[in-house]
Subunit: 145 residues, 2 copies
DNA sequence: TTTCATGTAACTATTATTGTTACATATAGA
DNA sequence: TCTATATGTAACAATAATAGTTACATGAAA
């Protein structure tokens, strides 16, 4: 993993968990699939756990599993849980805010971005984890890395 | 300038140019206003020049000026000129794309983001540079840094 | 032809993100 | 209860992206 992001990493992990509903997968197993480190997986899934999307169990035979069916998990829930912003925030340095123009640029952009954020949120709510999984399964699954 | 972005930097500069329509402002003068370096200003405004939004003149009394009134410059034009993305792209590492799930996540997200991008573009087209400038002037202009 | 501006390449510094190591905590099973 | 195995998390290192700097070429006005 290099240019990826926490959001797509989380989605990738969630699809893997959905693909093997009878198993719990360890961070290490998922890390191999996602070509990254087990701690990175824990960090990402930890946020999803706090949001109640996945459950973690410790000890032998422990690992991760979906907390509910993929049909009941929306991308918006994942997005909100990761506390990641799809829209880049163009906040200025506090020092620059002495300038009225900077404040106006920030204000107009914030207004626009808040508005846009709401639009995106509504659309993300309509996409479910199951939709991504279906897409992946229908693709001929040549290598579920 | 620290946490800023090229887009808000460009907007800030454009409002300054609009605020003094009779003058051409040098990169150095703008850099002082924007609390950054003259080369950074040139880099940002250079992109706007290529897009035909501003004009630059060399030599004594040279500098930058708007190519047309602020009423005829939309945020979308600025946004497109800077080649900056408001939506973060969640592209995966080429190596990871051997995995069908990664490709599906990327595909679903791309679809969503392309769609969202079009929405944002439409909205950015409706905001003009003059709108930001009006906001700044109406704010009591205590310090045009 | 001198002066002052942009244009740009090359390099450094800073920041954010990701990856790694190490260790504490908890749980299943012998 | 002891051991093996998993998560949870802090602290640190490595990497990549961004901003800032220096240096110098180019072009235009007086």
């Amino acid at each position: 993993m290099k240019k990826s992001s926490r959001l797509s990493l989380a989605l990738h992990a969630l699809v893997h968990l959905h693909a093997q509903p009878d198993k719990v997968l360890t961070s290490q197993a998922l890390a191999s699939c996602l070509m990254t480190n087990a701690v990175v997986v824990r960090r990402a899934l930890g946020e999803l756990r706090e949001a109640g999307l996945v459950v973690a169990s410790k000890g032998p035979n422990g690992g991760w599993a979906l907390a509910r069916p993929a049909e009941e998990i929306t991308l918006h829930q994942v997005y909100a849980a990761m506390d990641e912003r799809l829209l880049l925030r163009t906040e200025s340095d506090p020092g620059d805010k002495a300038c009225a123009i900077v404040r106006s640029v920030d204000r107009v952009m914030s207004e626009f971005l808040d508005d846009a954020e709401a639009l995106l949120a509504a659309r993300l709510t309509r996409i479910r984890l199951a939709d991504i999984a279906k897409d992946a399964m229908g693709a001929g699954f040549p290598r579920l890395g």
